[in-house]
């Protein structure tokens, strides 16, 4: 049965062969796939691509610094129940009506097999991944209020992304399959940009990519420009009708690539020193 799910990438997402393979390993071993990589290497988009490639619905759980593991399972809306009790709306004795599934619960409860993306797990509290160990292992949890057990009919494909802001606990890591998305090289980048912006002057694209990698190598940048910024930038260049010759010399629309004053200064200095040489 599981043999039939083989991910081979989709037309709008360029996946490296080893990444595809890792995805398939995770799917077949039914283990969560942990994806790490620099911002802008397409971690979140991978989930969308997998969902599309395997034709499964995608459920995204965006983790924030305040997110608790419990939020992903279910929420018991006691306040609503209290209100209903006072105003006599509905059947208050049926607690089940006030249990709202979280994203993880949703993924378990559905009849279909889904792709569940737990996005930016490192944003949450240090203990957050540990709190999900059992649920992700067994793909089930109990709701004490109703004594119901939510068990996944079809084990969802779980994808977890991390920006490495926090170290993840070992016990959690042991259960995952891990892939580190490297920053794409120039050829790969050209294909990626081409997928997003198909009609683009080849010369403009080449020069823009060259300038982009040059900029990333400038020492002292606080935040290096990433893929999404490059895509915005080439679009800006194309619409602005910039002469391709200008690109390397002047980096027009630099604000699209660099978001910090400090970085713009550093880049300007590197540009002018480069010109002198």
């Amino acid at each position: 049965m599981s043999q039939s799910f083989t991910y081979t990438g989709t037309s709008d997402y360029i996946a490296a062969p080893d990444l595809m393979q890792t995805v398939n390993v995770a799917v077949q071993l039914s283990r969560p796939l942990l994806i790490k990589g620099e911002p802008g290497t397409g971690k979140t988009m991978l989930a969308q691509s997998i969902a599309r490639g395997l034709e499964m619905p995608l459920i995204i759980w965006n983790v924030k610094s305040t997110t608790k593991a419990q939020d992903g399972l279910y929420i018991y809306d006691t306040v609503q129940r209290l209100y209903d009790g006072q105003f006599g709306d509905g059947d208050v004795s049926d607690i089940g009506r006030y249990i709202k599934m979280g994203k993880l619960g949703e993924a378990f409860a559905g009849d279909e097999r889904v792709v569940l993306l737990i996005d930016e797990i490192d944003k949450a509290d240090l203990e957050f991944p540990n709190d999900l160990l059992w649920e992700l292992d067994q793909m089930e949890f109990t709701i004490p209020e109703t004594r119901a057990t939510v068990k996944a009919k079809q084990r969802p494909i779980v994808l977890i992304t991390s920006n490495a802001e926090k170290e993840l606990p070992d016990a959690f890591l042991r259960r995952c399959v891990f892939h580190y998305i490297e920053f794409p090289d120039e050829d790969m980048m050209e294909r990626i940009v081409h997928v997003h912006v198909p009609q683009l002057d080849k010369r403009l694209l080449d020069l823009a990519i060259q300038a982009f990698y040059w900029l990333r190598d400038v020492p002292g940048l606080q935040k290096k420009p990433s893929t999404s910024e490059l895509i915005d930038w080439v679009q800006a260049l194309a619409r602005g009708g910039v002469d391709p010759k200008e690109i390397a010399a002047r980096l027009p629309f630099m604000g699209v690539l660099l978001k910090k004053d400090h970085d713009v200064d550093v880049a300007q200095r590197a540009l002018s020193s480069g010109r002198r040489r």
Binding site: V25, A26, K166, D170, E182
Partner: protein
């Protein structure tokens, strides 16, 4: 016999566990790495290695395993045997066996072996090229969180190239951290530094149960919710780090602590400065310790309230004159009117809570170089060794009144 790879990985410092090893065995049994070393490389790595920081060690172990360097020839032969006879692998269906056998015929073992040898030669050069401890080599050791790929360009994808070749290139050297204790443990220890603020600031976002019951009762049973302001951590931290020459062996340890402190977003205020061996009139803003980028120690004392927690990190091992004498500062020409010990006492006096974390293990404090100044410093500051346990003890000390 294939288990040797497991031990080899552990030998190279990749923290592989049995759970993960069994998962790999399952993956192989499922036929996820059909008869190709390249695929085996990727599949095994995705299951066994959980941080890019260990990719380099994995590459080394992989190269060693399949090249036979630094491993007895017995293993090498057995590996080739294993490669040549995939049919003996357990848990394969007949269909898979047939496919495996067909695929193996395309694999030219002799060519592969030759390539191993070539790579071995190259690997040796790269290996002795130094640059083992990335993050300490040349660049500022306190720059940014341990293994962040800042500045390191990694080659492109490995499409169409042999896994062994890729492994030999050791492209992931830049991601190594070689952590002994780990940032996470430090982070956990630092969480003890928590002191909740009063309810006077912030937005009301917490349900006040007692008030809600009171109000609801007063409202003849009609629910009336009362919200209150939640309490936030109010701990302010000042971290002073020694970057003197004798601290070099501990740079990695210090940068781990630094990343942990830096990532601990729960502090209300966090400041860090550097000093060279001992604190005098100036504190430095970066590790180069030049007066052009420094702040007056007095100004820091004026700016920071006394309830700031002071953490000093250093080996406290210096020439006695640096601590006890006027103009004892190690830089000629800087000069200090007051001996270093006076500055230490002043710091101690200004802040209610302060600790000194010593990078030298506690057992050596009495008889290492600098034991005199360590003893003197201990008279001023409560001193703990810079380990997870030491840090935990230190954070306790920082939270109680003495």
């Amino acid at each position: 016999m294939f288990t040797d790879f497991f031990f080899l990985l552990r030998f190279y410092g990749v923290p592989v566990t049995i759970t993960e090893w069994l998962a790999l065995m399952r993956a192989l049994a499922l036929g996820l790495a059909p008869a190709s070393l390249d695929q085996f490389y990727a599949v095994a790595r995705s299951i066994l290695v959980k941080s890019e920081a260990y990719f380099d060690q994995y590459d080394q172990a992989f190269a060693a395993m399949f090249k036979g360097i630094e491993t007895p020839p017995r293993i090498e032969d057995e590996v080739w045997e294993w490669l040549a006879n995939p049919l003996e692998m357990p848990g394969l269906t007949d269909e898979e066996r047939r496919l495996l056998a067909a695929a193996m015929e395309d694999l030219d073992l002799e060519a592969l072996k030759r390539m191993f040898e070539e790579r071995l030669a190259e690997q040796d050069e790269a290996h002795h090229g130094g640059n083992r401890w990335v993050g300490t080599g040349g660049t500022s050791p306190f720059g940014h969180s341990g293994f962040h790929p800042g500045g390191i360009r990694v080659g492109g994808e490995s499409r169409g190239r042999s896994a062994v070749k890729v492994a030999g290139e050791r492209r992931y050297r830049g991601y190594r951290t070689d952590q002994e204790v780990g940032v996470r443990q430090f982070e956990l220890a630092l969480r003890r530094l928590r002191q909740l603020s009063s309810r006077s600031e912030g937005v009301p976002d917490e349900l006040d149960l007692d008030e809600t019951i009171e109000e609801t009762a007063g409202n003849a049973g009609r629910l009336s919710l009362v919200w209150r302001k939640s309490r936030k951590n109010a701990v302010k931290v000042l971290l002073l780090m020694d970057v003197g020459g004798s601290m070099h062996p501990y740079i990695r340890l210090c940068s781990q602590l630094f990343s942990a402190v830096n990532r601990s977003s729960h502090f209300k205020d966090l400041r860090f400065y550097y000093f060279h061996n001992c604190v005098y009139d100036w504190l430095y803003l970066d590790t180069s310790c030049s007066l052009s980028n420094a702040i007056s120690t007095r100004r820091v004392l004026q700016e920071l309230p006394s309830d700031t927690k002071l953490i000093l990190v250093g080996d406290a091992a210096m020439a006695p004159s640096e601590l006890m004498a006027r103009d004892g500062i190690i830089w000629w020409g800087y000069g200090n009117d007051e001996p270093g010990i006076e500055w230490l006492r002043r710091l101690r006096g200004h802040f209610d809570h302060s600790v000194w974390l010593n990078t030298i293990p506690e057992s050596d404090w009495e008889h290492t170089y600098g034991s005199v100044t360590i003893r003197k410093t201990r008279e001023v500051f409560p001193m703990f060794e810079l380990t997870v346990d030491g840090l935990t003890a230190a954070t306790k000390k920082l939270m109680v009144r003495f």
